[in-house]
Symmetry: C2
Subunit: 608 residues, 2 copies
């Protein structure tokens, strides 16, 4: 085969280095040296092993390539150029305003499905795509290029554990062991054996090679393709900046354009015009999807006591029948989040990720790359473990559905470690996110179902304890909406609440009405986007708003309301959790935090 011609592969790799140097030189910044170390690895992958249809990035048979070391973007873009997907002019637009070729790869490019650049994320996301491959029943492979520095991230070992234990043989990690991190030598330098022992212990097939020898690389990639029942990691010893004396294997040469690019290009043998013909996938089979049938969503009678987490679980179990593309991921708390209801009905679409929240979210991101609709659920408090993954999922425009149970002090005795008190503040700033917080079971049903069709990162906040059902079955709760639960012409203030505090607000309104102080109550179940129209009306009519939330004062419901009406300037009092809770019953917790009916009524009186 011509592509296995060693001279050709060396020429291709040289061109990739030259183009990496050129792109960074033109931009005046970037990571050419981190690109040069991996050029041979990627040259052989593209010429001999990758199966990818650049004209049809949505071809279900395509292999997945993820640059976990996203800073090696010049190499990725040089590969795209060699494959004919971008031209030289675009290559040289690297890092310029408006260019698709950003400093780190993002899905603005049609061949990039997930943004990288926060290290240690590409491999866990690759695990998710490999899981999708099994569900899809398609033979594509997932290739992940990792740096050696990022192997220090715990998320890499969550990925190693999941892929190793599940035997994801369609996953191949290629580690560019160039010995040098950003600020100096890595912990293990060129000791590829140190990494091999670790990956081996986690059940991976390990191969140690010289990452600049095309023959060894080809052999290793073929070996990985032939490996059954185990993922493979290729640990390739390389030199950072390989091929240019000024920077080769030298400290202090990370993340900057070369000082003398012309000399470097000359050293690398000058510009070339090498094309790489990437093989297209042999099959065009459609991915498998589970059969669907008409099903009814659950419903609850008004007055029943049902936890919103229970309604979420029941709904998920129903949705699974109606939609063959829904999958559910659990952080070893499915009995608490009630995701277990889905597991019981659809065990083949339920994934136990154990207590590894970063991998939990990353797997969801990987699964949605191939068109699956993931719901990932754990305690709201423990989603903070995956904050960086959620942030990057926003950059990736990934359609993932996160569910956080056990929100707020209302969980009761377990104490602050288990209380989701910062989750709204974490989810609201995520780019393109939707944040939902139901107060009753029927509303939870509607919102859980609505999430299935949302783009981007969406989040449902559920409550541990039972709350009364206040809405009749089948009512609509559009995302971005709200419900006005109390309103009269004489209202002197409006209480805005969501979730568990809606019930406290209603009680407070009753108490206040009895005392001759009529107030309105809004159920702001959609925390983002927020119902600006209804809030504006309340702000302009009563002029006095009281927000009450089972969340910290900063970044939650109160701030969302303040933001919506800030240009109008109503008076606003925010009731939220400010102290450090201990153990107590749910009722005691709400009272101690100053967010129960009495605290709300007091706040209204104080404001007026």
């Amino acid at each position: 085969m011509p592509e296995r011609d060693l001279q050709y592969l060396a020429e291709l790799a040289a061109q990739l280095r030259v183009d990496s140097v050129r792109a960074a030189a033109e931009a005046g910044s970037g990571h050419p040296t981190s690109s040069m170390s991996a050029a041979d690895l990627m040259a052989v992958l593209f010429a001999c092993h990758l199966r990818y249809d650049f004209d049809h990035p949505d071809n279900p048979g395509n292999d997945q390539l993820i640059f976990s070391k996203g800073h090696a973007s010049p190499l990725l873009y040089a590969l795209y150029k060699a494959a004919g997907a971008v031209d030289d002019e675009e290559l040289l637009s690297f890092r310029r305003r408006g260019s698709r070729l950003e400093g780190h790869p993002t899905p603005r490019l049609p061949w990039v499905d997930v943004a990288t650049g926060s290290l240690g994320q590409g491999l866990p996301v690759g695990v998710g795509v490999a899981m999708a491959g099994r569900l899809d029943r398609l033979p594509y492979r997932v290739w992940v290029l990792c740096g050696d520095s990022e192997l220090a991230e715990g998320s890499i070992w969550e990925a190693a554990e999941h892929a190793g234990s599940e035997g994801l043989a369609n996953l191949i990690a290629i580690v560019d062991v160039n010995r040098l991190g950003q600020r100096g030598p890595t912990r293990h330098g060129w000791d590829t054996g140190a990494y091999a022992r670790r990956f081996g212990a986690f059940g991976w097939h390990t191969i140690e090679i010289d990452g600049h020898d095309p023959g060894q690389i080809d052999y290793a990639l073929q070996d990985a393709c032939n490996t059954r029942r185990r993922p493979t990691v290729i640990l390739a010893k390389t030199r950072k900046g390989e091929g240019v004396l000024e920077v080769e294997n030298r400290e202090g040469a990370h993340g900057k354009a070369l000082k003398d690019p012309d000399k470097a290009i000359e050293e690398l043998g000058g510009r070339r015009n090498v094309h790489v013909e990437v093989h297209k996938p042999e099959e065009t089979a459609q991915p498998f999807r589970f059969s669907e049938k008409p099903v009814n969503l659950p419903s609850y009678e008004v007055g029943e006591q049902v936890a919103t987490r229970t309604a979420f679980g029941d709904t998920l179990a129903a949705l699974g029948g109606a939609r063959g593309d829904i999958v559910v991921l659990d952080g070893e708390v499915a009995d608490s989040t009630k995701a277990a209801a889905f597991e019981k009905e659809f065990p083949e679409r339920f994934f136990e990720m154990y207590i590894a929240e970063q991998q939990l979210v990353a797997a969801a991101v990987g699964l949605q790359v191939r068109g699956w609709r993931p719901y990932a659920a754990t305690f709201a408090a423990f989603l903070t473990r995956a904050h960086d993954f959620i942030r990057m999922a926003g950059v990736s425009r990934a359609a993932i559905r996160l569910v956080g149970s056990h929100a707020g002090v209302a969980i009761g005795e377990d104490g602050p470690s288990q209380m989701g008190l910062e989750d709204l503040a974490m989810l609201r700033p995520v780019y393109g996110s939707t944040v939902l917080y139901p107060c009753d079971a029927n509303q939870a049903v509607a919102l859980t179902a609505a999430m299935a069709d949302l783009e981007g990162v969406s989040y449902l906040r559920t409550t541990r304890g039972d709350t009364p059902v206040i809405y009749p079955p089948g009512e609509r709760f559009p995302v971005g909406g709200s419900r006005v639960l109390r309103r009269s012409p004489g209202d002197r203030a409006t209480i805005v609440a969501a979730g568990v505090t809606v019930h406290e607000a209603l009680s407070a309104a009753d108490d206040l009405a009895a005392a001759g102080i009529p107030v309105g109550v809004i159920d702001l179940y959609s925390v983002k986007p927020v119902d600006t129209a209804v809030l504006t009306e309340a702000a302009t009519t009563t002029g006095n708003l009281i927000t009450v939330e089972d969340h910290r004062l900063e970044g939650g419901l109160g701030d969302a309301v303040a933001d919506a009406v800030s240009e109008l300037g109503p008076r606003l009092v925010k009731l939220a959790v400010t102290g450090l809770p201990g153990s107590a019953t749910p009722e005691e917790q709400l009272a101690d935090a100053g967010i129960d009916r009495h605290a709300i009524a007091d706040a209204v009186k104080r404001l007026l």
Copy 2:
């Protein structure tokens, strides 16, 4: 030795089980079965190996005991009772409002230094205490009781990597391999060999034992004490709920009180009155601290162009000389955060944690337990990786100093993965946190120095690019304060900014003044606590506020200002990052995000 009497050890363990059952029964909740599996392990540790002075929890020679599996709190409290530190009445106050014996241990108890309950955190924090032990030059040991489920957390393997590579022989992990997680079997069940291979690959000494055999436990603990140059992990095969047929080794018995506690207590041989005499540390030596000398903080001339990250690094290097207890931790980006300036001067107090942000923060928490003053620095964006650790550090009341560089879109070409755009929203809700954001080098000096004496979690946000020095050297910037940079009686609005946007706000104010629109400018360098007095004055005089920040719209500076003045009801316009940035120059980024001088001036005109 009497404490090695096997009958005595069995009696002590039985009492620990009985008291765990009793405490949970009285509370009506809790985790008795997770306590019962580890009772023998802890009985032998307390009777034979732990060195701890319960009367003097601050004795520098004390061993450290951390229940990483914090839900086994009934066992911990039963141990305290056996040691005479709490009485039976207090034991039975477990999980009640006001009790020190919370659902998960917190430092409300004098013998608990770090809160646990979010799994996978105790071992990384233990690594930090073990690092402190080396610095202290004291022979205390760090004992960490882990569950098997939590070994799925990536943070455990960040800890395994650091401790193994650094050879922290004073660290001993005891893993209670009871096979059952919350919702069912763990991934590896009783395959202690699976864990041993993993820890072994990371350089640990591994011991596999029967966790209910006091002789084996004693031998393993002694072996761990005798081990040099390597941390030890004891992998103890146990049965959850050991000793009570109703729950022993059964699924579905997690996290609830036993149905028939009286029968269980009878099965366990009834109540006892066994006392355990914990050995006190032999030494009362004081921990080592580095020598101090008078030093001058750095200063910069007004008009110079200096990045706040540079001023931070210079200040740190100066503080290191003045204070012998300051230590600095880096996430392999010290050249970028400028923490490298400290490394150069004080390499023995500088810790390279590599790209492992959870361990970075956990090590800081562990070091402060023993009185060291840690500063931990990485990119602001990557601190999101450690969100759960930061949250729990707040619960622990840990005095740690976090520094996030490369804040905002102003970093320029690198793109959104590297931009700290959610950091203020993450840090503001942390219990007891302080959030600081300097706009010039001299202010950064003052705030970096002030952080050394702050309690709780404090955060400094620094900027990548150079900004003009606007404050003379030596000025004071108290935490909770602000600086009014422009004010005149005719001000029609007030712009509130911090960091890089202060300079844009000043330019906008100049432009507006030239256009006949006088406006005030406030530098709100203390984002939490916020200067309510000054903001109130602005809100009541001009009545129009414009906030501008290089951060997302949600949860940052604008929300802090809105919160401070919400009861007054001024009109408020928030300028912040709402879109998804790509690559561009810093100036282009500020313009594209609508937070540069022109956008500010336009917003003022629109508001008026």
